[in-house]
Structures are given as structure tokens and as C-alpha cells.
Amino acid sequence: MLTAAGLVKHYGGVAALDAAGITVERGEVHALVGENGAGKSTLVKIISGAVRPDEGTVELDGRTVAFANTRRAAEQGIAIVSQELMTFGDLTVLENLYPLGGPRRFGLVSAREMRRRAEPVLADLGLNVDPSARVETLSLADRQLLEISRALLQNPRVLILDEPTSALPRAAADRLAKTTRRLADRGLAVLYISHFLEEVMRIAQRVTILRDGRTVLVGEEISQVSVDSMVSAMLGGTAPPAAARRERAVRGAASVALTGISVPGRLRDVSLTAAGGEVVGLAGLQGAGHLAVLDAVCGRTRPATGSVRLPGGAVPRSARQAVAAGVAYVSGDRKGRGLMLDQPLWENVTAVRRLGLGRDGPLPSRRHMVDRTADLIRRLRIRGGPYDLTTQLSGGNQQKAVLAKWLDADPSVFVLDDPTRGVDIGARAEMHEIVRDLANGGKVVLIASTDLTELVDLCDRVLVFQRGRITEEIDGPELSEQALSRAMNAGFAASL
């Protein structure tokens, strides 16, 4: 159906792809896995017409094709749902479904016809939203489904899903996985890119693995591989560092204390204390309130009642005050909240200390800033130089840069909000190691994550939220994905 072979692509002097290929058949879910920077995105961009290869060919139904742009590829039946959400928040669901204008009547766009065509697709994906609702009112999971609906409305023959579940909570990810299988059963060829190897095991029939721009495993039956064998293929034989459970450090004096805080519509009378030296997880379904706690600690929401105390007794009344009081906010939303992508790496890495806290004085020495950046690049093993534009780093390296800019400011409280979203296993393990070191060094670490294994790997204890309250605390030995999932969904099962 779709065959790409012998693809080579160089960016400057760096080979992004070097002899890579893949074959996706009708009716299968074909997984493409590899570490960040292995070349997955480049391969997908070539197939979808966004980038032209230096060498190699793409064939569709036996005919060689060379798409001039993504629109040509779409016309040939190749639809892509990319990792970054590409929805237009100000427009309605319907308008988002037809970015090119949609069906017309008397020369005008026909909303009725749009609605008629869209409704079965939306229902099929389980997306129960008002088609005239503005997209910014939708949850992240619904927006992801909206993107898939948009792709399906093009009647594609090949559907490319680039890390569709990386931003989704567990239940929505499961639903999406099932939907993907069903689409393939109907004859669609699905190319599925994911970092979640268990998920790949569950829904794919075959898998292709990229390492350093080469295909190291080509279209292997999923029954012939395991999570472990895929990991070693991705990393080139070396096993990932085992996530050793951390000895709980001696508790530092610093602590964050929330006392009876309420935020209308988000939190009701929540109290919690996180001490230096421990990693405290916050878990919950969407809207459960755990993220409101992060907002309160970071000074972005001021609680209606109750108080937030940071180390040293400071009360965060604004984001700026929180940063000044030593709170770091490491966001998985690196494009929006994390980085200035159009600036060189050093401008980003030194931004908090130099510009937020102003600790380098009114005339910061550029040489000094670049040196500090180089140190952090080494410490976090970021692939890139201080002068590289941040947009040119891979997702994993960008995420490390977000961590680096906070480490540069040496805060005492780390608030991690999905800190490894869309990051490959290797980088994720390295980031986790650093978070453990921070806790061991007496820092307070609060973490929320859509990835439950991350909470299990990192946390000393996890507070589970439902409807704005803490409903359960899961500690040390009892902490497991199953226990978390059960606690998050407890009481909801009957209504589902």
C-alpha cells in the first residue's frame, strides 16, 4: 500500500535519516518507534509531503509519488494527525473539521452539509461535543479526537498518528487505541507513532524501529517482539537504566504547606504538606483539581480561602512572586509555557535567573551566560550547542532545556507538570534521575503526570484527587499503576 525505501535526509551536516524505510499495508496498524531524534518525525514528514528526501522513494499502491506539499499528499489519501495540536481555538468544532472550507452550496460554505457529514464521524470516535462549540472550550482529549475526525473526513487511505496519546489521560488513551484498531479493521492503513511500548504491543500488528536514522527492525510481527526487545533495539543493545526505588532522603527543613484552600469550581478545602526531600505526586482525572494545586503553588490562582506557604514563609500572589520565592515550574507544554523556540538555547537556559530573577545584574555578560549553558548542556546531556536555535532541538532535548532553565536558577521547590510529555525513554530516564537527585538534595518536588508509570517510578507518595478534594493517599509500597488508576476512577465506574 504505502512503501518508503532508502530514505536519506540531511539537515546541514547532520543526517536525520540514513537508509530508512517502511511498508504499511491496508488494514493494519503499523507502529513506528524509536528514541527522540531517531528520525521518526522526519520519516513522517517525508511521507506526508512536508519535507523532500535527499534520496529514496515513496510509493503509494506501487506508483512512485513525490508530493510537492502536504495538501497534495492529502489529496492522494494520506492524512496526518501530528503530535502538536493543530486546532484553531477561536473557531467552532465544525469550522475546525473543514480547514479548507468544506462542502459548498450556491458557492457558500454549507453548515448543514458539514454537520451532516461530520456527525457520524464524531459519533464513531465517541466525541460528544456540540459542533458549534468553540474549540478552546474543549478538553485536550477531545481536541485530539477532533484532529483525528478532521483527518478521517478527508477519506484517507493512509492515516498517520504521531504520538496521539502523549497528552491524553489514561482512559482517553485507551479509547483512542480501540478506535485506531477499529479504523484499521475497516481497511485503513494506519501508521502509529508512540513512545508507549505497552500501547504498541496492544494495538499494532507490526512494528518498525528506527535508531539514529536507520531502520533497525523492519515490519516485524508484534508477536515476535516484547517491550524489552523493542527497548534494546531502540537503544542499540544497552538496557535503559533501571528505575531503582529511591531511598527516602532525610527531610529538609524547606516545605510547602497548603492549608484549607478552596478555588471556586476547582478545589474544595484541600490541605497538604510536601517536605523537602520527598517527591509528592498529584493524580486525578481531568478537572479533578490536582492541577489547581499546581496553579496555586505557582501563584497563578489565588485561592478564595485558605493559604499557601512556601519555604521561607512566602505567599505566592503572582507567578513572578512564586518564582522569586524559589518555585520552579517545569511544564510539558514546552512550546507554550516553556521555551522561546525562535531564540538560541542559551537565551532560554539562562532566562529565569537572568531575566526573571534579574540575578545577573542589568548588564549580563554573554560569555558567562553561554558558559553556564554549556555546563547545563553537559550535565543534562542535551544534544545541541548554546547557540543552536531551540526549535531545532528534538522534543526530548527541548524538554531537558526547560528543566535546565530552572536548574540554572537553583530554586527550592520544583513543580513538575507532565515533565516528560512526548519524550523518549532514554531522555525520560535521565530526567527522572535528575528529579531524584533534586529530592535527595532536599528540594521539594510536586509532580502531576498523565503518565501513571512516571508517578509510580518517581513518587514517594501520591495524593489522588476527585472533584476538587483529596480522596486517597497512596504511599510507598502500595504505589502501583493499578492502585492509582483504581483510586482515580473510584466512584466513577458506575456512571461509565
Binding site: Y11, G13, R337, M340, V352, L355, Y387, D388, T391, Q392
Partner: protein, 340 residues
Amino acid sequence: MPAALTDSAGDQRTGDPAGRPLYRRLVRDEFGVIAVLVVIVVGVGLFHPDFLRTGNLLSITHNTVYVGLMAGGIVFPLAMREVDLSVGGMYALCMVVGAVLIRDGLGTWITLPAMLALAALLGALNGVVTTYMRLPSFIVTLATAMLFRGAGLALADGKQITDLPQNDSFFTFLGGNSGGVPTAVWFFVVLIAALTVMFTRTRFGARVRAIGSNPEAAEFSGLPVARTRIAALSLSGLMAGAAAVFSLAFFMAGDPTVGQGYELTAIAGAIIGGTPLAGGRGSVVGAAVGCLILSVVASALAFFQVPINWTTFATGGVILVAVGADTLLRRFRNPRSAGA
């Protein structure tokens, strides 16, 4: 760092700046606009050698000082995704206020700082209203532009304010020549250099660029966004005030109708010089050179005996061609960033 990441020719992407030739380090992104300016000047000179006379070139530069200073200041709000449409009105108001103060007997050298303070204050007012009323600076400065010009008109009763002490050192020095060059041009060079250092090397300049690059990330990183916005708009006002000082010193009159449309010329100059409205980047030198290009073209048209009424038309054309050529050049030099 792997060699492969640093050896490519892409200028701003990689590479140690210390490894570049000195002139590239100094002008970098401004190279394009400066080249365009030189080509136009030499090109016109080929047909009309008189155009290249020092006197003519100096007079063109002198005429550009007022808009050029405003353009240098306006780079700051533009680089942080704000805009200042009030500089033209502010320029007129400051000139009228200065003329009134001098006419009524205040010392000229006390009037000067008073004019600058007024301008900085009015600019800060733009910033305060924008920040605390949560309005776009476009709308706020659109309104204050009329407020300022209207205040100037009312204060001057719609007429020029003349009968100033023309032999005062304020007029003879700031409005005259020093070493054969208009004093205003010397100050222009110095101020543009100072603003460049401020934009590229200071914490304030870096904050301006950071906020323009990603306002949300800036907020989350604890940057003083409100304070920086007020300072940037205040600086833009201050430069309009500086323009008013030199203008008053040269013309020896306060005219409430001067500087109509200067704000748009200043913005056009800044854009030609490589300060995109999208923010995050900018160049003070580029803005000044952009304004010079506009002046040179207008002056060249006179040499070619194009009717004066076609000047505005030609200016529009220059803006389109200059900005378009810049985009094309960038794409040519760095084809990867074009699609991204």
C-alpha cells in the same frame, strides 16, 4: 559539542560569534538593509553625481533624524508585540510645550529635560493604561495619539509658536552644525548606538525580546512583564521627545501640526530594518537605516524630477519591495527556516 552542529554556514543558527569577522559581528542581520541603502545611494549617484555631494547626503540624514529617533525607540514596543501609534502626536505636543515654556521665559536648558521628562511620562502613561486596563496598545496609542496632538493644537491655539530667542545656545548649538555636520546627526548616531546596546546587551533589552518571543513562557519564568511593557513604551515616548528637542532647536518654532504620519513611517522603517511585528527580534540600527532608505528614495525622486505628489506612492512601493526582498533573502540564505 559535535563539529557537525557548528560548522554549517547558517549565520545566526550556530557557530561561535567570536569566530566571525568583526564586521559580521557588528552588523549581522543589518547587513542586508545597509547593503540596500548603499546600492540605492550609489545607483542614484551614477545618474546624478550631484546626489553624492556631502551636503546633500548630510541634509538627507539630517531630515531623517526625527523619524529615525522615533523608529529606534519604537523597536522596543514592536519587539515585545506592542505598538506605539502615539509618537507623532507626542512629538508635536512636546515641541509645542517646549516652545511655550521658552517663550514664557523658562531657560532653554531647563526646558530640554522638561520636554524629555514629559515625553517619557506620556509614554509611561501609554504603558500604564495598556497594562491596567488590559487593552491592546494598538487601541490605547491610537487614542492617545489624538489626545496628544489635540492637546498640542489647543495649547498652541492651532498656530505656530515663534518669537523664540534665536541666538540662545540651545538653538545655535543643537540646531546648528558641529565640525561641519549638523549636531543633531551626531546625537542621532550616539543615541542609536546607545539604544542598540540597550536592546542587545542589557537585561531590559533581553526581557523585551523574551516577552515578544513567547509572552506566556515569560510570565511563567517570572519576568516582570507589566513593568517591562511600561518601560518599553516610555522609552519609545522618550525618543519622540528627543526628536522634538532637535526639531525645536532647528526650526526655532513650535508647530502643532508637525509629524503627521511619522508614527507609520517610523514603524515602516523599523520593519524594513528587520523588526517583525510578531516580536522577539529587532534591530535599532536596522530601523534607523530603514528610515534612511525611505528618505533617500524620496530625495532621489526629486533628483529624477518625479512630481512631488508621487512621493507617497513611491514610499509605499519601497516598503513592500524592501520587506519582500528581505523575506526572500532570508529564505535563500536559510532554506530550512522558510517552511518551519
